[in-house]
């Protein structure tokens, strides 16, 4: 094998792919290591939200038997909603870092495949969520004697589904950013909130009008939060809700990756990658 062939061969296969993914994660580790405001941002909102809703839970528990019986349902909802929000934001903010630094041109002429870039964005999203939410969850144990980890294995199912749903939203936002530039940056912050009222985060699906329940039913998050309440209030893990969430997430993620790749192609057709800006 000639040196030239060896050079190309060395960039093929799953091991080379994994190394490129690691390289992208290293790029973000370097970034966060040198930027305390970015690190603070990771933990700031999850912790603040949890503290506020924790006190609200204490207050409501003193007035209502329901909250005494279902202690922690609000704190768990806050923490799991933050998983979804942070997951989406984790993908889009990592992508925005490349846009802000005008680095996409270098990335897309390196051997890094678009699929690997997507994988790196999702892996970074997972790391950001863990760094942001775990301290808040631990603080809830200390402050309110409530541990979200008491949910046990169902928590892993809820977390995973919300994480994957956040990836889907984040990837579509990245596609929009590629197409419309930094002028569309605010979408990264507000897009996921559009589904908050329909996700049955703090209230059961049954309180919504019938037509809205149909819309809520096509969101994986609705099935997760319904499932969470079932575990915390009825002490029952509903596999039907889990199945719904997994099936919907499979569709969402497939569509999101396809949309991202389509926008990437569109950016290459329109010459947008070297002109990323407002």
């Amino acid at each position: 094998m000639s040196p030239a062939e060896a050079k190309v061969a060395g960039t093929r296969g799953p091991i080379a792919s994994w190394r490129r993914l690691q390289a992208m994660v290293l790029r973000y580790v370097y970034l966060y290591r040198g930027s305390w405001p970015r690190l603070l941002e990771l933990t700031y909102w999850p912790t603040l939200q949890m503290v506020m809703w924790g006190f609200l839970t204490i207050f409501l528990a003193s007035k209502s038997g329901f909250f005494v019986q279902a202690g922690g349902v609000l704190i768990a909802a806050v923490l799991l909603w933050d998983v979804l929000f942070r997951s989406s934001l984790g993908v889009s903010l990592s992508f925005l870092e490349e846009m802000w630094s005008r680095n996409l041109g270098h990335i897309f002429v390196s051997p890094l495949r678009p699929g690997e870039f997507v994988a790196a964005l999702t892996l970074m999203s997972l790391l950001r969520v863990l760094i942001g939410v775990i301290p808040a969850a631990l603080l809830a144990i200390w402050l309110y004697e409530y541990s979200v980890f008491d949910m046990g294995l169902p928590l892993i199912a809820f977390f995973t589904n919300l994480q994957v749903m956040g990836w889907s939203f984040g990837l579509i936002v990245c596609g929009l950013l590629m197409r419309y530039g930094l002028g569309a940056e605010s979408i990264a912050w507000f897009a996921i909130f559009a589904i908050a009222p329909f996700s049955a985060i703090y209230y059961p699906l049954s309180v919504m009008p019938d037509w809205l329940q149909w819309i809520a039913g096509i969101l994986p998050s609705t099935h997760v939060f319904e499932g969470m309440r079932s575990v915390l209030i009825d002490k029952t893990f509903r596999t039907d809700l889990l199945f719904n969430a997994v099936a919907l997430n499979a569709v969402y993620l497939t569509v999101a990756v396809a949309v991202f790749l389509r926008f990437f192609r569109s950016a290459r057709e329109r010459g947008l990658i070297l002109q990323i800006g407002e």
Partner: protein
């Protein structure tokens, strides 16, 4: 412009009827050229002539409307990942992350290109491009000239066989610019690398390039070696040839050829 013929030297870059249009605007219009292995060629032209658009298509960052691009015998539209590990580029239109140090930036790209011993290669390049003293400073705090050298270091990390350089010595003082040109010449000669550059520095092009393609409004309007073009236009240097072409003047043999 003729396409490749039998008996031509092997081409590292081959472009055939390359066209890019944005609606009614033709940014690049049926461009055909080839660059032989181990040589340096330049795309010259005024602002908006189509140089950066052409380089973007060669890299696969921009998809052509029509035409074909092959690099090292690989079709860039169909199999770009088969050749990207053997290419690299630098451009003033693309930055490296400013919050990362020079060393961190190079380490990330060394790993993206799958280098076996990234630290050694980075150390070597830092020494050769006079970057050693700045390696641990955030890239955003480097001077324009230092950033240009860092971008060049990134472009050379994977020891590319094909190097695309957009304004490679912009922002460099004459001494550093001269050393970088010498470095590029030596790199090309020792590795039989092929370099395609876009530059407004005519002295640089005269020194480095054996082939010059003069572009205007998305087309190659003339090409040849710097000496051929200077003779054809009856001028003293390439800068005067550039001005003749940019201002639609024909002089010397060029006028006769056109007639």
């Amino acid at each position: 412009m003729s396409g490749p013929q039998d008996g031509d030297p092997p081409a590292a870059i081959r472009v055939s009827r390359l066209t890019k249009s944005y609606g009614d605007v033709l940014a690049v219009n049926r461009l055909s050229f080839s660059v032989p292995v181990g040589t340096t060629a330049a795309l010259l032209g005024g602002n908006g002539a189509g140089k950066t658009t052409t380089i973007s298509m060669l890299l696969g960052l921009l998809l052509p409307t029509h035409g074909r691009v092959s690099v090292l015998g690989v079709d860039m539209l169909k199999r770009r990942y088969d050749v990207l590990p053997r290419m690299n580029f630098s451009s003033p239109y693309v930055d490296l992350p400013k919050r990362l140090s020079a060393r961190e930036n190079l380490m990330v790209y060394a790993r993206l290109y799958g280098l076996k011993k990234p630290s050694r290669r980075i150390g070597d390049l830092a020494g050769e491009l006079d970057l050693t003293a700045f390696m641990d400073r955030p890239s955003g705090t480097l001077s324009a000239g230092q950033r240009t050298r860092l971008a060049l270091a990134k472009a050379l990390l994977n020891e590319p066989d094909v190097l695309l350089l957009d304004e490679p010595t912009a922002s460099l003082d004459p001494d550093t610019g001269d050393r970088i040109r010498s470095y590029l010449e030596a790199y090309r000669d020792t590795r039989q690398a092929t370099i395609l550059l876009a530059s407004h520095n005519m002295a640089e092009v005269e020194r480095l390039c054996s082939q010059v393609m003069m572009m205007r409004a998305g087309r190659i309007v003339d090409q040849g070696s710097p000496a051929e073009l200077i003779r054809r236009y009856g001028r003293a240097n390439l800068e005067d040839v550039f001005l003749d072409i940019a201002r639609h003047r024909r002089t010397g043999d060029a006028r006769e050829a056109a007639a």
